[in-house]
Symmetry: C2
Subunit: 727 residues, 2 copies
């Protein structure tokens, strides 16, 4: 048995599938173009060094390899079988593979779950057979798999360069697209590809975990149409992205949220923007334009991360520098303010008309001496204010544009760039008008692993990805696994509500929050006019808000169920009576439980804090600016629970309207630290009570010294038994 | 004198410059690589058929052409001279050219205005010399010019394909970038290029006007760093874009607004977003990513416009259709709802697993019969609900992917597409994974003038540009040139304010508006407590707002200068006194003119209507949602004056928060027609009074039945003499 290169993930159960010692092709074909032909051909042409066993009932030889009649006949130890036969035959074949001790199968055929009830049964039979023998399954309905680090190519795509980018894709055409782009534009190569197909057994999560440990893979790229176990995916992505970039394109950007919900948080959850937030929280580099996938993967493979977001732009003149600056600023990057020493050193080598402040314009100095660009970049690289460098303009094309005599000079410059990675840890991204022409200097850079882009937009997108990854690596930490015990008094409240077939009343929700140290504010429930005495005893002559408490009235204001700025015995009693009268008129059959009296909230900024248990991603916190910001602009941030303090802080920063927290229009400057505390407390709280399916604190009035929770609403899921909290 | 092709713009003063009968190269050089060598070489290599006269003091021949000692020696009639000598020599040479009757010069040298006071004087001398003889000047400091329709190439860029796209660019490198991209990716060719340089004489406006009439040019593309006569540019762009697409990339997207201003409108004007709005109003196709310029120009050259925004997407499966749908919806396009007949006809030719609803997925049917795509597209083209078609996937690559035997079939399909334009006026945009490989089928489409894109994003961007252009062409009309006469009573008010060195008070501004039929609301100025009688007489017991009137107090609320909901004699007098007391305490030296009493505005949505005279673009109207929307989100729309009703209507639609006008959160649904009327009335009003430099109606409270102008402020420009209105 010839040995094959092994990954560092050698103890992984997926190891035998991606690094098999021998491969059987079930349903091998002698007919060119057939899937069972391409698989054998791919293995041979890609130089797979393990044994290749075509299985065919009649053929003696296929592509010069001896055929076997069936799985049972196979000689020696076979780790992987690729099954190219129709769906109906698959469960039986998997059974055979299991009996033979084969560890994994790749099932190409469609016609399973995706095709209806018959296919679903077939897929169940497949899984049963696989589980019986511990056979792991890639697919069914997969575009296939390759591992070019050992020449294992089950797809038979020709001319794919081996390299360091892995790809997991729910679309085979997306692989084709990336591969063609890579062939055409650069020197990017691929390590492992896998199409998860129906994910009957193995899925995104397993592949990502495996590729995170696989040593040839520097960047894991994914095309995802939908996640299944999203919560687990986030955990794995968080772990993998700590040491290797994970790039995801998630389709469905314009899908409407699908979660039917009664709360604000529920209505906004399940959206594409929620998925974006959660993936970013896990450290994923999310690309939102499909044509950015390859450039971003290439850039991250080359540089991994940037130490900061201050970029020095070096140009040979022209509009490109202007455009680059526009794009940099739009992308949240900044122009590095150069040290005086840097400016002096640049001045000593550049002509007087050069622009020495960032963006630096050499003003023609490179036209007859391209190598001056390397000198400039070396000077810039030593400036502590510079985190990354962007060269824009003609590099690679000087000899073409200004004469062949410049070729030597330009190639020397390319050599300096090629050495860059050994000397500097600051990313250098090169934009070249001549990139598509692939002149020698551009080829040299790419061979050295330095990407060169023809698009300024892509160059800047790569710098943005590097800076964001750097930021994430510096800030990320394990979410604090605080244990929060559920309180018996809270459980009692929930139990009573559940027995009465309703959700907790506002005052009950606030009691529950208060039991966990959350300042939910005091309130008094009036169930009779006489209760005014308790109200006065508790609140004196402070101005009060009075609100109806009813399981049947959701929109309290519409029902006339709210009175504000009420003060004094008489006014309180009058308001109490008139609230009940209005609500009775508004909804004659409504169960009116009482009227809640509480002090008016101080002046401040309305925010909304929510939680929803997403069916895919589990508990998710939401933060937004209240009122029209949420309702008109959907300006909200999401984070998966548990979250770190940095996660919570970044929710505030992320809002488009976050200026509102900093004191505009006479509003107070908000105590952001207290808001962050509250977000973390609520995240802990919901972990203790899995029976809360949605939570809405809306609005919370935040101000200079803290906050007031003006309203609180929980939705209970009657199907969740109270547990002893989530750990 | 050999004749050269002439444009349709033959009566244009720029005609002899772009279609010269003979060209002199002043400062011609025998040294390869020099500018004066390249110009001669470019003319010869591009096949210019007019006479070429190199001018050199000593050389006899350059590149086989006879040299002349100086301009005076030139034989025959020369229309154009390209001057390649240093700046200092230029004014004298222009003088010589003028004496010789040369109609235009291209001045390459830098070292004029852009280099300091000496250069500025040199540029003035250049202009004086030119104007003396009626010589028109391209440049100075220009990258040059070409007109490939007659082989007039003064740049000497090799391999640029002649075609139908003109380009005006403030950056020579942007030309290089487009040219290289065009050479590499497609079959796009160029008609005329010109670099405006310092625009001493001729500038953007002249070139755009000329190219608008020039018959070879189908699309005018521009790279602009800054406009000078922006108002005139908008007029020309509006006229040109009626019959040919104008594509503009405007750099400076992230520049902060530069206009120092005291009003809200002033603070938001002068921004990039204002420029974007005004260019779009003029029918310009604005691209905001530099790498979209070429694809968009190519698409507009091929299709000009789409009849609507409903797109049918046809795919051969895979993720590309999903991605395309995401991008289409993001771009404001929609998926065409197919007619039942269309679905039936598709069903009759596609396999049962195909997806027949838009996006249409042929589900493998094209793998062995690419030509089925042409059949599907023909069916879709006949559907009246379909305005444009997008093919995504592998087209062009079937023979590569599935075997050479498909080549004939695939080429037949390409032939059908190539015939498309003769049969249908619905744009067909083709995306192909294989576009970069340029297989024969892709080349065939491009030869037929059908662009093929490798990027889904670019494909959709082109469809968006076509739909927007179609929309503009259907809606655009000449702005109504209503004549509005200034009223003597208004002039009197302004004059008095000017004499007192102040701007009009709120009530004066409202009187001025009312004089032009704008419902500015009634108010009574109280200058003594006794004036309460007039207030009561006018408003009875309606609840009132009382506001300080003072030239020195800008922020009335901060000064305690506003009282709301005041009712009855006693309360009015008390409020009057306390407003004056507060303001006196707040600003002891302020001139307190009085207190204005007016009825409280009804409940509604706060909007802001403003006007500013932009130094570049002239009078510009602004519309935004009041309060935090303007202050936190800068959610405003701009339109140049004069404007059409459609312009005004589109201002409302454009706002991100425009949902607020449709009745959310208990707010009334706004009477949009009345708001539009008001915008048009204000636009007319400011045309009558050029002395108003800024105008702010902020807030205007709009509701179901109209609006109330709650505050009005005009800034007068003391340097503008009252004129008899602008015509």
């Amino acid at each position: 048995m010839p040995s094959v290169v092994c990954s560092d993930a050698s103890s992984d159960p997926l190891e035998p599938l991606f690094f098999p010692r021998a491969v059987a092709v079930v349903g091998a074909s002698a007919v060119a173009g057939k899937r069972g032909y391409k698989a054998v051909q791919g293995l041979i042409e890609a130089g797979y060094r393990g044994a290749i066993y075509p299985i065919h009932p009649r053929e003696e030889m296929i592509l010069g390899r001896r055929c076997y009649r069936n799985v049972e006949e196979l000689p020696g130890e076979v780790d992987l079988a690729v099954i190219c036969t129709p769906a109906a035959t698959v469960p039986g074949l998997v059974e055979e593979c299991g009996r033979k001790g084969i560890k994994g199968v790749v099932v190409i055929a469609g016609g399973f779950r995706e095709s209806g009830p018959d296919g679903e049964r077939l897929e169940e039979a497949l899984l049963t057979a696989a589980q019986k023998h511990g056979v792991r399954v890639i697919g069914p309905n997969t575009s296939g798999m390759f591992n070019l680090t050992i020449g294992l190519d089950l797809l038979g795509l020709r001319g794919v360069r081996p390299g360091h980018v892995a790809f997991i894709s729910q679309s085979g055409n997306m692989l084709l697209s990336l591969v063609l782009e890579a062939q055409y534009h650069g020197e990017l190569g691929f390590s492992i590809y896998v199409g998860p197909g129906n994910q009957t057994d193995l899925g995104f999560n397993d592949y990502l975990r495996f590729l995170g440990r696989e040593s040839h893979t520097r960047v894991v790229t994914m095309y995802v149409e939908g996640f299944r176990s999203g919560q687990r995916f986030l955990e794995i992505a968080r772990a993998v992205s700590r040491h290797k970039p994970v790039v995801v394109y998630k389709s469905g950007a314009t899908e409407a949220g699908k979660v039917a919900a009664r709360s604000h948080t529920g209505a906004l959850a399940g959206s594409y923007s929620m998925t974006v937030d959660l993936l970013r929280q896990a450290g994923v580099c999310l690309v939102q334009q499909s044509d950015e996938m390859l450039p971003v993967a290439e850039g991250l493979a080359a540089w991994n991360a940037a130490p900061g977001s201050r970029v020095a732009v070096l140009s040979d003149g022209g509009g490109q520098a202007t455009i680059a600056v526009d794009r940099l600023v739009e992308a949240g990057l900044s122009l590095a303010p150069l040290e005086e020493g840097t400016v002096r050193r640049l001045a000593s080598i550049l002509p007087p008309q050069a622009s020495l402040r960032n963006p630096i314009d050499v003003a023609g100095a490179s036209d007859d001496n391209p190598a001056i660009l390397a000198e400039c970049l070396s000077i810039l690289a030593q400036d502590d204010n510079v985190d990354a460098l962007l060269l824009v303009g003609m590099f690679g094309g000087y000899a073409i544009r200004f004469g062949e005599q410049l070729m030597g000079n330009e190639m020397r410059c390319a050599e300096t760039f090629a050495e860059w990675r050994k000397k500097h840890d600051k990313p250098l991204v090169v934009h070249s008008l001549y990139a598509p022409i692939k002149p020698p200097a551009v080829r040299r850079l790419r061979e050295a692993g330095l990407p060169v882009y023809a698009s300024i937009e892509h160059s800047v997108r790569v710098l943005q990805a590097l800076a964001e990854r750097g930021h994430h690596l510096r800030r990320c930490s394990e979410p604090d696994a605080r244990h929060v015990s559920p309180q018996p008094c809270v459980r009692e409240v929930f139990l009573r509500a559940a027995q009465e077939g309703r959700n907790p009343y506002e005052h009950e929700a606030k009691v529950a929050l208060a039991a966990h140290g959350i300042a939910a504010g005091e309130s008094v429930l009036m169930r009779a006019p006489e209760h005014v005495e308790q109200v006065l005893e508790r609140f004196g002559d402070r101005p009060l808000a009075l609100k109806i408490v009813s399981r049947d009235i959701l929109h309290k204001s519409d029902a006339g169920g709210v009175r504000l700025d009420v003060r004094g015995r008489e006014a309180i009693v009058e308001s109490y009576e008139s609230i009940l009268a209005s609500c009775r008129a508004y909804a004659p059959k409504a169960d009116l439980h009482g009227v809640l009296a509480m002090p008016m909230a101080p002046k401040g900024v309305e925010v909304i804090i929510g939680m929803v248990r997403d069916p895919v991603f589990g508990p998710v916190m939401m933060f937004g600016l209240g009122g029209i910001f949420v309702e008109v602009l959907n300006d909200v941030a999401f984070r998966a629970v548990p979250m770190t303090r940095d996660d919570a802080e970044s929710m505030l920063r992320q809002l488009r309207g976050n200026k509102l927290l900093h004191g505009v229009r006479g509003l107070p400057r908000v105590d952001e630290a207290r808001v962050v505390d509250l977000l973390l407390q609520v995240a802990d709280f919901v972990r203790a009570y899995p029976e809360i399916s949605e939570l809405d604190l809306n609005p919370v009035i935040v101000h200079e010294q803290g906050y007031a929770i003006a309203d609180a609403r929980f939705l209970l899921n009657p199907n969740v038994l109270p547990l002893e909290g989530e750990e």
